[in-house]
Assembly symmetry: C2
Homo-oligomer: 80 residues x 2
């Protein structure tokens, strides 16, 4: 898997873990972040390469800072 | 300033602060991250909305995890 794809799937795992911790469904996160539910699903599957603005919307929807959201990122060293 | 623009300029400040801390010039960061120097300048000025893959390249170029890089982010609660 190329480095870029790997980063996207790692980020997707972080969003899924953080969302699970908050108890939100993908639908609820989509509503809170103003992003389409299917896009959230694509991000969690590592199929999307979101921009900074979208990443900030997801973090806001989770009620996390960006640093907190990325700390759910297993592969690059972080929180379980 | 709209929320998206604000996030980009906040991220730009974080990259500049992190780069200053590592003592790298924009040129050196551009070389290490495989990104064009003028693009790095645009990111630091908050004029760019980089994708996750580009953000990861910048973090790698700085030798930081994403969580560490975003912790240089003043506005959203962080490290000085």
């Amino acid at each position: 898997m190329d480095r870029g794809k790997e980063n996207c799937s790692t980020f997707g795992d972080a969003v899924r873990r953080a969302r699970a911790k908050t108890g939100l469904t993908q639908e609820e996160l989509a509503d809170r972040s103003g992003i389409d539910r299917s896009y959230i699903g694509g991000v969690e599957r590592g199929e999307r390469n979101p921009t900074l603005v979208v990443i900030c919307k997801i973090a806001d929807g989770l009620g996390l800072t960006l640093s907190e959201l990325f700390s759910y990122d297993n592969a690059r060293g972080s929180r379980d």
